[in-house]
Amino acid sequence: MPTKIEKDAVTGKMTTGHEWDGIKELNTPSPAWWLYTFYATIAWGIVWIILYPAIPWFGGATRGVTGWVAREAITEEMASASAAHAPMLERIRATPITALLDDAALRDYALAGGRVAFANNCQPCHGAGGQGAPGGYPVLADDEWLWGGTLADIEQTIRHGIRAEEDDDTRRSQMPRFVADGMLTWAQAGDVAEHVLALSGRSTDAAAAARGAPIYADQCAACHGEKGEGMREQGAPNLTDRVWLYGGDRRSITTSIAYARAGVMPAFQGRLDPALIRMLAVYVHTLGGGEPDAGR
């Protein structure tokens, strides 16, 4: 209820001119410094609205008189960042991949970039540091390579992928589904598995291994080699060593024979810059299993 603004006898302050149930409120204004700071922020805000994009509008916010737009600023920054990288990337594209390791500057640059690109593109399947994953994701840090471990081999694999449908130059091979397609019985598959175990001296059933040997020679040796040494042209793994992508016990080997294995890796050509693919190849090569390129 409005009332007269008057001086309060006790405190000497003015009242606000309102009264509620007989209680009058003293006028205690905000401190002057606070008010002026507040006014200054308003003035600042008006200047800001004039200079910069501020008010949401149909088809985008109002353009300030400076014409500054955050999206354009970041685009410019990214453009200048890529411009800074351009000479190095051009050198990497122009250098034969086998010579990339010889130039310390190129190698360090490729390793740094390759590490990041690996984390972005390869790590989901191949794991951090190329540690691989059970079930068909090869370890990239060991010395076993299905399709070859030279820089050129690795670059080829990354560019065109493995059994990548979209790429005509992809690495392609198909192991038959021996049991599933009726070429062998389960018992024969078990015998072949026993023979495969015998290749690395792990067989416990000599009779079964002996039964499996002629089947192996007929069906498997064409790709995996007479002694199981494998064949990189076909991506056929070495069967005598300790590295087993899908498991090296009798059951896993029998399953592999019965249903076949055919891992797929996408082709990165077109998705990644050729220079970045080379940097990835250098990074993977240095994980521990890199093989020297031909003629070196």
């Binding site: 794991g127 370890v139 840090a141 060991d142 060593d241 590295v243």
Partner: protein, 500 residues
Amino acid sequence: MDGSLEAKASQSDAPAPLYASRVKVYPAAVHGPVRRAKWAILIVCLALYYLVPWLRWDRGPGLPNQAVLVDLQGMRLYFFGIEIWAQEFYIVTFLLVLSAIGLFAVTSLFGRVWCGFTCPQTVWTDLFMWVERLIQGDRNARMRLDRAPWTSEKYLKKGATHAAWLLIGAATGGAWVMYYNDAPTVVRELATGQASTSVYFFFGLFTLTTYGLAGWAREQVCTYMCPWPRFQAAMFDDHTMIVSYRPWRGEPRGRHKAGASWDGHGDCIDCRQCVNVCPTGIDIRDGVQMECIGCGLCVDACNTIMDKVERPHGLIAFETLANLDASTAAVAAIPAGPARFEPAMKARSGINLLRGRTLVYAAALLLVTGVILGAMALRTTMDLSVQRDRAPLFVRLSDGSVRNAYTVKLLDRRQSPGTVVLEVAGLPGAHLSVIGAETDAQGRPLLSTRADGIVTWRALVTVPDDAAPHGSKDIDFRILDPSGRRLTAHESAFVGPGRP
């Protein structure tokens, strides 16, 4: 009657206000030995500050030739022949600890000589006051000028003062950035507008803080902002030399007519010269107080007056509390007057430098100095850092052997690159290879170093399946020079598969 009593009661009940506005201090000019010492120290301090960045020191090609330089980009600290890398910055921490203990030791011996003579706040304030006095005149002239209306002369004098202060501030800020950049280059860049934003920022920051702190804030920095005066009393004891007024000699103070007898009269003639020259505006005759920065200008001022009234020097002096007490006790029975002088001065004892407190500080100084010298002496020219790959934990190779991979960083402080041998110890049957490195006749990897820099290598340690440890085993990486002498080493571990 009642009303007035109530009013009085409420007045005395009202709490004293917590805020007091500054009373501007107009220190008068003073002459004497303390003032001369202060000028000399001021000149030395400023000369060091402004000239040190210009000193050159040849470190060979590719390295800065500035004697004292903080290289933030390269994360190095150059101090003449000493080069401190970022990871050795603890040495600088120990230097700061050493400085702090040194400050404590000096304070407990001689009072606040740091505050009064060498603190940058004191030095620059002194310089600013000198400029002010040169342009606006001494204490009385300055007070008159402040009271006078704004005439063209006042505008001119005040403007010239502030312009001179800003110039000194700019020189201070300009010298500061020289410690972080090559001095001749950064000066040229500053002058031609080509320096980086951060250089201009710090140039501006130090210009304005110098101007503000030495021109405007002055003694308020010491009284309100600086933590040191708040706890320096903890370093004082009865044997600390502090700027003291000798009440046994000065009291009862009061006016004295030339030629009259001094009997029954203290030597203090209450001329207030000690107050007028004080840069913090206090009265030293009130005894030791937090605001006193121990500059001793009141000693010079009082001695000048003592010469005029033909009394001996030292009514205000650098004196210990113990001596003050001894003198006071010695003259308790003697009435005020010149007769007190001799017995009081005789009762004093010499300076007691070897006290428990100072011995503790001396021991701490020696200890920290030893730590610094030891750390400097034990620095190697080469540092090895080995970090084991955590993913994959280990790799099983096709022949069943187990391999761990390591990132090896080799830091070489020498000015020319060299070749060293890397070997691994503590794991029988282990084979060490480094990607991209040559090997020596024994098959050990040869690493080339980068002069005054770091090279990163990738090392692989492989052991046959039957020799692989179950779980983790500690191993040592060692760097040998070509003659087989061990240069440095780094501990790491080899992880093998757990027991099946």
